[in-house]
Symmetry: C2
Subunit: 425 residues, 2 copies
């Protein structure tokens, strides 16, 4: 193991990110299971990319078939690409009609920013102060703004809306909504004062990287209205929230609004690099007119085949319904363990994106990332792979493939209960 | 056909780029051949992504095998990924030891810019004034600087070195080298005056998008020395020049230098989205230390399997040697047609990247993009797919898969000669 890590540091550079105190050497995957080089089995409660399950045969065969037939760039006509464009827009809200494909979620968010700017003529972008939207220089301007000292004149970040550590205590939910919305309005006003026309607001509808907080009621709906009133477009980053993760097809449905632009990524091709941006045809046309965008590896027959197969499986295996049902079950059962587990202060999320707020003291709400990490590592030893998230690093993240069943939830609950016993007695 | 184009405009947006006056509806590919929906066959003299040939069975099977076994992100250990990292660095110069994988060439150039900046502590980047390095906002600052009115304080562009339309007439090749190098020095000096420390210089070693000009002798070697002397790093964009395209493994070998950082893309996975950045371990470590870079779809077992299979085929089918031999043959035979074809003023390039300068008048050297396009479209009608390039759009571009043989060159030469007869009598 240490030889392998040394080799990795030499070849990929020291500090290439690696999970778990004791990293895992995964050699095979199947459904919700991963297997290491010693044959040990791990229940995968982390990966959202292989959304229809690791190595799903329908996706594997669709890719094989297409890779053996044609895989070429998109300056030729190809019906498979258009069929997939039709299919992916058809599972979105009715106003969404056109798509720009990319390879990664980062690229999708790059395109979305450019699209909003070209369609509105504005430049200013509002985001959450603890977000992560990708790794390119332009998109990274929106990442974790709270922690940065850089001044990006075209970016304004708002404190992310939440009820657990609200901006002000003792407010009703609707008062809290107004408080956070006032921050959006302040950002709009500040852009105006600075003579920077608004282009839009970009957020993950469920604030996944922020730690899937309970968002005060109606915040997203009202924020979208405010942004549009000010001439901007509302962009939903569905890279994590999309593809039935929340029990709805899209995170924006879960939050009751329709975005002007939505970006998609991770689960879209079950591991095939595939991402994209959807919007009305008018907005996409504004982008095409303003920018001659071309991406060699995107909009290819191979991407389309993988993407199409993923939707096939989601629909034929009723995965949206499965996510809603198993997610509810898992959250409810976890809640039963809260009394025995002092650090587990709140269980949140939607569908199969579950966040558990981990604290040292429930009264003072002191975040306890260290104990959260201890849980992650203890569970990994037992053969259960979860992760952590949140702007304070103290949110346990449970986000298995969408094919995760109640029997898998039960296996995890047993291991989780054992871990509570081991750590808290 | 017009129905399909209308459908494409509706789904992908009007203006999504499309080749040829009469676009082609490609449904199948095999080796150097593409087939449309009517069964018509096209000799592919354009595509560099399917470098070992369309749908090469060894690559298709390697991807199938891996997609059915495991395809997951890279925060676990995986020997296949490390084996590929070892293999891809082993075909580079001896100083190159480590790699950061990405999905697209754009992402590779993003990483390279960031890497040079983190390793040097500088910010300033020198580029050519007619380059294309990718589609993200940060990388696009380096694109076609000559044509832009934007002022990017961290970018200085130099007129790209060439002998066909040199900055000054009547100079010897070595005098011309000095003239262009003086532009590099001026950029270095200007950054110094502006208090912007130099990070490096990023160029394609063969200036592919500039139109593969004949570069005055020794320019790249000397420019790299100057940049290093000034504290910067020299970055070779090998996205087009790499993977045996020039008859050497890398464009930098063809130009006789070793870069500090090299970026790779298009041909790397024969169509699988796969790209990356190589450098010394020290430089990669500086990047890892300065930036927690993570890319969901990159450094995956699937990428590694595709990349490994591509190198297998290049080596087992002796494609580097094939490229050198068939490329020389094709350039020599094309030169024999120059007298009968007044616009074909110069035939340039390396290996199987051939550029033909197209002019209205050989004395005044007036570029003739319109006639160049007429050749591209006429050849497409005959079943031969080529393209055009160059900062003036007047360079015919012939850049077939590396498996292109002399018999294919002969088919093209016959069609090309016919086209000359049809257009020039």
């Amino acid at each position: 193991m240490s030889d392998l890590i040394a080799r990795r540091n030499r070849l990929l550079g020291t500090g290439a990110p690696l999970f778990y105190q004791e990293p895992v050497n995964i050699v095979r995957g199947e459904g919700v299971w991963l297997f290491d080089d010693t044959g040990q089995k791990y229940l995968d409660l982390y990966n959202n990319v292989p959304c229809v399950g690791h190595c799903h045969p329908h996706v594997v065969e669709a890719m094989h078939q297409q890779a053996g037939t044609l895989n070429v760039h998109n300056r030729y006509l190809h019906e498979g690409v258009l069929d997939y464009a039709e299919r992916i827009t058809s599972v979105h809200a009715a106003t969404i009609k056109s798509v720009v494909f990319t390879c990664t979620g980062t690229e999708a968010n790059e395109v979305a920013l450019s699209m909003a700017r070209l369609a509105t003529g504005g430049r200013g972008i509002i985001c959450s102060d603890s977000a992560y939207h990708g790794n390119s220089a332009e998109v990274a301007k929106l990442n974790k703004v709270k922690q940065t000292t850089e001044n990006n004149p075209e970016i304004r970040a708002i404190p992310y809306p939440q009820s657990y550590r609200p901006l002000q205590d003792d407010l009703s939910s609707s008062e809290l909504t107004e408080l956070y919305l006032a921050k959006v309005q302040a950002a709009i006003d500040d852009f105006k004062t600075s003579n920077i026309p608004l282009a839009g607001m970009l957020v993950c509808p469920i604030l996944a990287n922020e730690g899937v907080p309970d968002i005060p009621d109606n915040f997203m709906v009202r924020a979208a209205q405010m942004v549009r009133k000010a001439g901007g477009l509302f962009i939903a980053d569905e890279v994590q929230a999309g593809f039935c993760r929340t029990g709805n097809w899209w995170g924006y449905e879960t939050k009751g609004f329709v975005p002007d632009i939505a970006t998609m990524g991770k689960p879209m091709g079950n591991g095939m690099p595939l991402a994209g941006v959807v919007a009305s045809t008018e907005i996409v046309n504004a982008f095409r007119k303003g920018k001659r965008y071309f991406n060699t590896f995107s909009s290819t027959p191979l991407q389309a085949a993988a993407g199409m197969a993923v939707i096939d499986v989601i629909e034929s295996e009723n995965l949206r319904e499965n996510v809603a049902q198993v997610g509810d079950y898992l959250r409810k059962e976890l809640a039963k363990l809260q009394d025995r587990c002092p650090p587990m202060a709140e269980i949140r999320g939607h569908g199969l994106y579950i966040g558990m707020e981990w604290v040292g003291d429930r009264n003072t709400k002191t975040p306890d990332a260290k104990n959260a990490i201890a849980y992650v590592n203890r569970l990994r030893e037992k053969g259960f792979l979860i992760g952590q998230a949140g702007d304070l690093g103290n949110v346990l993240k449970v986000r298995p493939p969408l094919v995760f069943q109640q029997e898998h939830a039960d296996l995890f609950l047993t291991a989780f209960e054992e871990t509570i016993g081991e750590i808290h007695g």
